[in-house]
């Protein structure tokens, strides 16, 4: 008797479920996206194709992925970081400040030959002179001063800008080096903004 009720409920469930599964919706959403955009300038349709990191991070819908998944993402991304051949990680903090302020780059409305910035202030507090800063990421005011001007911190800062997912899986921060948003020199300049004792960030 008990068993037949279970069997009956299972039958009802399978018979009545006509709503699509989560996987089906995900596949349909991806297809829907592809038919809902047109290429414009540098923003071509392949921008909609996800790499493994983007795909896994999207699946967890804004929640933290389980530890083993996170570790896998961090490993994949750590392997992508290329440190400068000359071994120097600090550029010019003044250029770094300009890059941190610059919001343009990679949008279909941007001139492909025009400036590409990091737009750091959109999400972080850096130099105290700039009042208009965002809070999506942590405050980076006194970044070097608080952590010490060491070689390891320089290396961490450079690596974090190059590929933040190497340290925190599914970070909100763009992978500036890995995705080719900023050049090596620009990443050095932003690293200097964070790590140069003369930078307004540290004064």
């Amino acid at each position: 008797m008990g068993q037949s009720i279970v069997a009956f409920s299972a039958f009802v469930l399978t018979a009545c479920i006509t709503t699509p599964t989560d996987q089906e919706i995900a596949a349909k959403a991806t297809a829907m996206l592809k038919s809902s955009f047109t290429a414009n300038g540098q923003a071509t349709l392949d921008r909609l194709d996800q790499d493994e990191t983007q795909r896994i991070c999207s699946e967890f819908a804004g929640k933290e992925p389980p530890r083993e998944v996170a570790q896998k993402i961090e490993q994949i991304n750590l392997a992508t970081i290329k440190y400068p051949g000359d071994g120097k990680l600090l550029g010019d903090w003044k250029n770094g400040e300009r890059i941190a302020q610059e919001g343009r780059g990679k949008q279909f409305s941007d001139d492909p030959a025009g400036p590409v910035g990091g737009n750091c202030y959109a999400c972080h507090r850096l130099s105290p002179q700039e009042l208009s800063y965002g809070t999506i990421g942590p405050s980076l005011y006194q970044f070097g001063k608080l952590r010490g001007y060491t070689a390891e911190t320089q290396r961490y800062a450079y690596g974090k800008i190059y590929n933040p997912d190497a340290y925190v899986a599914c970070s909100n921060m763009p992978r500036f080096g890995h995705n080719g948003i900023l050049t090596e020199q620009q990443i050095k300049d932003v690293t200097a903004l964070l790590m140069d004792p003369a930078s307004p960030v540290n004064r």
Binding site: I25, M32, F37, A122
Partner: protein, 276 residues
Amino acid sequence: MTARKESTAWPLRSFFAALWLATATGAAAQTSATDEIAKYRAALQDGNPAELWEARGEDLWKQKRGVRQASLEQCDLGLGPGVVKGAYARLPAYFADADRVMDLETRLVWCMVTLQGYSEAEAKKQPFGNGSEHKSDIEALVAFVTSQSRGVAMNVGLGHPKEVEMYRLGEKIFYYRGGSHDFGCVTCHADEGKRIRLQDLPKLSTPDGAQKAYTTWPAYRVSQGELRSFQWRLYDCFRQQRFPELVFGSDASIALTMFLARNANGGIFDAPAIKR
């Protein structure tokens, strides 16, 4: 003020130098940046140029236009032909005549085609305005129609399976990360109390955040001097997400609108608003 000839170059210069000093000391009592931004926004509320769009939109709604020389007064926005009051608070919705879930903008295009005889391409040719030379009829109509839901509680239904499916698709798209910067809607709109530069970012997956955001669009954007529809809001979010160009009235745009509008249910609609 009429011109008078007096040589004042030096006294003026020293006078303004003194004024400078006075300003500098007065700045000590400055309140925090966010409080001041709140005052800025409050000061803008008094005269909202969105009213200029509402007036033009009402005129366009009533004008006989198109090859059929018909007005839009028989357009069915979901509450029956010609019912504008409260209609926006129930959109997007499934429309049997089109067998499709539609937002306001796509429904307006539908009415321009079926009632007035415009081709779809003509109806969509200026979805967003750009100065006095390139005004958008759609954005003006959106301003008028949405103004007729001011004070009405958002009440978007999921009674039809296609509405449910659109909502679920919109949710997936909300969390979809891609492009050169790995951005998705989720990057900026999944946490409480965050801001980009000085702009507060609502958490759009919860009723509170969705209500705050959705009930204040469309809006007159002072940075552009234009009234902007919700289609434009999504179009420009995706531009800044570094995605390709969102097609006006596309399924993805309607799915996302469905997700956000439904999440805003219960919120009192209060637009067209005025924003940065």
